[in-house]
Each structure stands twice: as structure tokens, then as C-alpha cells.
């Protein structure tokens, strides 16, 4: 398990770094949350037209019309969909991982994380980034779908105190 151990140690360090960064970012976003009142929440539902794979509807919710551009929103959701598709992709790499895991009676996952988990970390990072750069300045907050059981993308709309309460 030695090569996997070094990967996992490296992965751990990276993970810790991301966690600290995320914590700091969440803290600043939480300040925003506590200062501003929640006006409403919008839920972007799953799109099952392609089967059971994780995909969200790109339909632009009417409540966000005054807050954000349609194109920006669609781009965010499309990127999320692409990331989830990458996580669930069936291909040579995933089959190899599956077979190797089966042969080691799945004990290999004690040493390394699955491909899906790696992509989930990528998604979490992407959402943090989007929140910071795009959504928080507009008074919106995206919640990572994994916290809602991959059912919805929850967008919290905060009251716009600078302009006046709506």
C-alpha cells in the first residue's frame, strides 16, 4: 500500500489546505448570511431526461430574473452538470478502478479515495469559487447539492439592504 500511502498523504495535505481555505471562505460567507436576512430560497431540480445520472435543470428560475443574468446562471449549472457527468462516467479508467477494487475485496478504498469523491471535492471548490466571485456580490448563495442529497441546487436569495428591502 506504500505508493497509495504517499498519494494519500499528499492528498491529505492538499485536502487540509482546501479545507482551511474553504473554512475561511465559509466564515466570510457566513458573516454575510448572518448580516443579511434571507428573502427566499430557489430550488433547481434534477433533470431526469437522460436517465438516473446526476444532472440539474438549466431552466432559469423566475425569482432570479432581477438578480443575475440568465447566461451566467446557465453556465454555472452546465459546469456542475459536466462535473457530475465526469464523476459518473463509464470508461476504461472507472472500470479499472472497479476491477482493482473488487480484486482487493474493496480494501483499497481504505488507502485511496474513489474517483467520484475526488470529483466531488472539485465540485465543492468550484461552488466556493462561484459563490465568492459571482453570487455573493449579487446577494445570492449557492449550496452544494451534496448537502441536499443531490436532489436540488439550493440558491438562497438575500434581502438587498443596500438598495432597500424588497
Amino acid at each position: 500500500c506504500r505508493p497509495f500511502k504517499s498519494i494519500s498523504v499528499f492528498g491529505c495535505i492538499k485536502f487540509i489546505k482546501y479545507e482551511v481555505l474553504a473554512l475561511w471562505q465559509t466564515h466570510s460567507l457566513q458573516d454575510l448570511r448572518q448580516q443579511a436576512a434571507i428573502a427566499s430560497k430557489v430550488f433547481v431540480q434534477r433533470d431526469y431526461t437522460s436517465g438516473t445520472i446526476c444532472k440539474f435543470q438549466t431552466k432559469f428560475p423566475s425569482e432570479l430574473e432581477t438578480r443575475i443574468e440568465k447566461q451566467q446562471f446557465e453556465e454555472t449549472v452546465q459546469t456542475l452538470n459536466n462535473l457530475y457527468a465526469e464523476a459518473e462516467k463509464l470508461g476504461g479508467k472507472s472500470y479499472l478502478e472497479g476491477c482493482l477494487a473488487c480484486l482487493t475485496a474493496y480494501t483499497i478504498f481504505l488507502c485511496m479515495e474513489t474517483h467520484y469523491e475526488k470529483v466531488l471535492k472539485k465540485i465543492a471548490k468550484y461552488i466556493q469559487e462561484q459563490n465568492e466571485k459571482v453570487y455573493a456580490p449579487l446577494g445570492l448563495l449557492l449550496t452544494d447539492p451534496i448537502e441536499r442529497g443531490l436532489r436540488v441546487v439550493e440558491i438562497t436569495i438575500f434581502e438587498d439592504r443596500s438598495i432597500g428591502s424588497r
Partner: protein, 483 residues
């Protein structure tokens, strides 16, 4: 879906591993003690090792499975292997050992892992879905019963109906189903296996399949080599003395003989299911059979057997959606079904703070509702004044009048509204009380305190039954005054 009265929920999952996470002494010490999410999990599951292991409630048959496998394999290694190793080849116990370890490993993995449970909707989500459903169905009169909630979606050219789960307050994804034994919605639900002591769903189907496949190999292996052993012995010493020398062989042969038929059959059935990418649930219902319609086909199949098998067995392993070992954040919304109070007994203090509040709001609502419909409340304020539970008349009058104009909309929304939804509606008329026995008189007198919960178990409010409501309200108020 539950349309009847549930059996009383025992506060089961706090009895395990208490040295790791001690139960709360009082609700007021909540700010010091952080709970893990498995401790407030609303489904009927048992958790061990601080949330790492997850099983169904009934595990008796699982222990039987373990005992059968261990005893039969143990007897094989103890009585038959020495002879076979010395007379044939030592590879036999070696292969047998590897097979046995694989079987046990797969069984434990299938039994202990999360089958793919979908977490229940948060109150805001549930309210949002309700709004969408009401908008879709259109507003009806007080007596109007909305049609069963379904959504249609076209997947790969096939129209699939998504059903609404009343317990979990979500529209189930395709292929998901609600397990009535575990009280959870499970993704790609195959079946609930009592032998494995868990549901078989998206996340543990491959372990289940590998378990039954390797078990069928092990059973055939043991059966074959025990017979070989007996034959070799009887060639030397005669049949009866061979049986006397290794009595365990008889037991093994009997167990294996009966197991072979069932397990090999089951393996074959599941091999067919995997190759056609169906679940046991779909196969039993005949969802994709051509008998239903000429154009009926399975939209999830990849077209060829190899891809279907690879996808089921070697595809990426999805993560658990319920985050059992995460800590409960004090400001996160609790799932809607939680406030129904099914998972805590009112007498215990565990996680009942929210639950009590919501149930009290419910009960207050019913009292007020009854009050509006009967002249009793207005005529005799002393009944309420005496009770420690409700505030004196002037403040009751407030929410009472607030409820008045809104009343016609209440009856139609009662059957479907979640507890959480009603909490939102009555946010300004909150009363603190620790006594919710009175509310059950408005629902049905025969329900016991522990089982009375106000989600989908409420009968339809019929405005025509005002007399019974009047009686109930009188009974309730008398009980209140007696407290």
C-alpha cells in the same frame, strides 16, 4: 407509502455505542453537546460504531446467515480438509479459505453499507414542492381531494412516472423506491433482503451480487468436496464407517444441498437482471416487459450485455448521501419528517426540542380551529385561563381572529401539508408547551401519545363533521383544564 397508523417507534439508535456519543441529559445542554447526523436520522435503521455501520431494524435473519456460513465452513475446514489436503492436494483448503473470506467480506460490506438512502427533504424544499404541486393541480374547494402526485418525464423515449413520497416529501428519482421496512427512499431500489439485514440498492448491489455469486461457488465447492471425501473414505473403509468417522459431513451435505438450489437460482436470476439492467422491483412489477405494450422497453439498458454488466459491477461507486458521521449544525434545517415526532418518544428529552415546538404548534392550531368552529371558547374563557398550557384569552383571541379569514383554506391543505409547512404558517402564534396529549383528541381518540403524529396520518378534515369536532374540542378543552 404509509396511509395507516405506524407502530410505536422505539428510540432505538441511541442505545448503541453510548460510550462514544452520550445521549443528552437535558435539552438545555444542547449547545455544549454536538450530535452526529446518524443520531437524528429519521429512518428505521440501526447504527453501530458511531455511525460507520448501518443496518435495518430487524437483523435476526442476518445473524442466522452468518451462523450458517461460519458453522458449515468451520466444519468443512475442521473435518474434511485434513483428509483432502493429505490425500488430494493442499490447494483445496487454500481455495476454500480464499472463497470463504471473500464471501464473508462481501456479506459484511453488503450488510453494513448505506444502500443509497435518499435524505428527506428540508422544510423549505418540501414547501417549495408543495407550492409547485398546488399550482399544477389548481386550487380546489375544501372537500376537493387532490389527485395522486406524479410527474412524468421522458427518458430515452420512454415515459416514466415519478411518484411523490409522502414520508420523505420528495419526488422519487426514477428507479428509486421507498422501503417500508426501513422507512427510507432508496436509489435504484432492488429489494429488502432479510438475509443480509439491509436494503439492496444502488450502493451495495454489487456487493450483494458478489456475495451470492461467491456463496454459490462456496456451496458447490463444499458440497462437491464433502461428497468426494465421503466417497474416498468409503472406498477404503466402507460407507457406514466413513460416515461414522466424519459425522459433520452429513450435516454439511444437507445444508449445502438445500442452499445450492436457492442460492444458485438466486445468482442466476440476478445475473439475468444485471445483464438486462433491471432491478428486482422492476422485474416483479413487469415495468419493462413487452406484455405491457409493444413499444415498452427498458430505457436504462445500455444495449449490450457486457456494458450492462460492467456498469453494474465495475462502475464508479457513488458516495453516501446521508453523511452519517457529520455533525449536526445548529442552524441547518431539519428534515420535514423529523418534526412529525415519530423518532422520539415524548417522555425522553432527546432531540425533542424542535419536535415539541412543532407538535405544540399543531395542537394549538387544532384548538384554535375548533375554537373558531365552536362558540365554546368565546363563551367560557375560564377553561383556558386555568390551564397552564395556553395563554389567557386576549392572546388567544389574536391568533384566533387571524385564523378566521384563513380558515377555508386550511381544510384542503391539511391532508398534504407537512408539519414543517404548518410551522411556517403559524409562526406568529407559537406557544411554548410541553404537553401534546390534547391534540390527539382532535385527530382520533384511539391514537396513543407516542404514535400520534401529524403528517400524512391525519384523516381528511371534513367540514360536514363539525359535530364530532365540537365534541372533540370540548373533550380537549376539558382535558386541558384538568392539567
Amino acid at each position: 407509502m404509509h396511509l395507516g397508523i405506524d407502530e410505536p417507534r422505539e428510540c432505538q439508535y441511541n442505545q448503541i455505542c453510548t460510550h462514544n456519543s452520550s445521549p443528552m441529559e437535558t435539552p438545555h445542554s444542547k449547545k455544549r453537546k454536538v450530535k452526529r447526523k446518524w443520531q437524528i436520522f429519521p429512518g428505521r435503521n440501526k447504527f453501530y460504531c458511531n455511525g460507520r455501520i448501518m443496518m435495518a431494524k430487524q437483523t435476526g435473519v442476518f445473524y442466522l446467515t452468518i451462523v450458517l456460513i461460519l458453522v458449515t465452513s468451520g466444519l468443512f475446514f475442521a473435518f474434511d480438509c485434513p483428509f483432502l489436503a493429505s490425500n488430494l492436494t493442499p490447494a483445496i483448503p487454500a481455495i476454500g479459505g480464499v472463497l470463504f473470506l471473500f464471501v464473508i467480506g462481501m456479506l459484511l460490506r453488503a450488510s453494513f453499507s448505506d444502500p443509497g438512502v435518499l435524505p428527506r427533504a428540508t422544510p423549505e424544499e418540501a414547501a417549495d414542492v408543495e407550492r409547485q404541486i398546488d399550482a399544477a393541480n389548481g386550487a380546489g374547494g375544501p372537500g376537493y381531494r387532490p389527485p395522486p402526485r406524479t410527474r412524468e418525464v421522458v427518458i430515452n423515449g420512454q415515459t416514466v412516472k415519478l411518484k411523490y413520497c409522502f414520508t420523505c416529501k420528495i419526488f422519487r428519482p426514477p428507479r428509486a423506491s421507498h422501503c417500508s421496512l426501513c422507512d427510507n427512499c432508496v436509489e435504484r431500489f432492488d429489494h429488502h433482503c432479510p438475509w443480509v439485514g439491509n436494503c439492496v440498492g444502488k450502493r451495495n448491489y454489487r456487493f450483494f451480487y458478489l456475495f451470492i455469486l461467491s456463496l454459490s461457488f462456496l456451496t458447490i465447492f463444499i458440497f462437491a468436496f464433502v461428497i468426494t471425501h465421503v466417497i474416498l473414505r468409503s472406498n477404503r473403509t466402507g460407507f457406514l464407517s466413513a460416515l461414522k468417522d466424519s459425522p459433520a459431513s452429513v450435516l454439511e451435505v444437507v445444508v449445502c444441498f438445500f442452499s445450492v438450489w436457492s442460492i444458485v437460482g438466486l445468482s442466476g436470476f440476478h445475473t439475468y437482471l444485471i445483464s438486462s439492467n433491471q432491478t428486482t422491483n422492476e422485474d416483479i412489477k413487469g415495468s419493462w416487459s413487452t406484455k405491457r405494450g409493444k413499444d415498452n422497453y427498458n430505457p436504462y439498458s445500455y444495449g449490450n450485455i457486457l456494458t450492462n454488466c460492467c456498469a453494474a459491477l465495475c462502475g464508479p461507486l457513488p458516495p453516501s448521501l446521508i453523511d452519517r458521521r457529520g455533525f449536526v449544525q445548529p442552524d441547518t434545517p431539519q428534515p420535514a419528517a423529523q418534526s412529525n415526532g415519530t423518532n422520539t418518544c415524548p417522555t425522553t428529552q432527546l432531540q425533542s426540542h424542535m419536535c415539541h415546538q412543532d407538535q405544540c404548534i399543531q395542537s394549538t392550531k387544532f384548538v384554535l380551529q375548533a375554537a373558531v368552529t365552536t362558540p365554546l371558547l368565546h363563551a367560557q374563557p375560564i377553561l383556558l385561563g386555568g390551564g397552564p398550557v395556553l395563554q389567557p384569552k386576549p392572546s388567544v383571541g389574536g391568533p384566533c381572529s387571524a385564523l378566521g379569514p384563513g380558515q377555508p383554506s386550511l381544510p384542503s391543505s391539511i391532508p398534504g401539508l407537512s408539519c414543517g409547512g404548518e410551522v411556517l404558517a403559524l409562526h406568529d402564534s407559537e406557544n411554548h408547551c410541553h404537553h401534546h396529549l390534547h391534540h390527539q383528541h382532535f385527530i382520533s381518540p384511539e391514537e396513543t401519545p407516542c404514535t400520534a403524529h401529524l403528517g400524512h396520518h391525519m384523516p381528511l378534515y371534513d367540514p360536514a363533521s363539525q359535530d364530532s369536532l365540537h365534541e372533540d374540542s370540548v373533550r380537549g378543552l376539558v382535558k386541558l383544564s384538568s392539567v
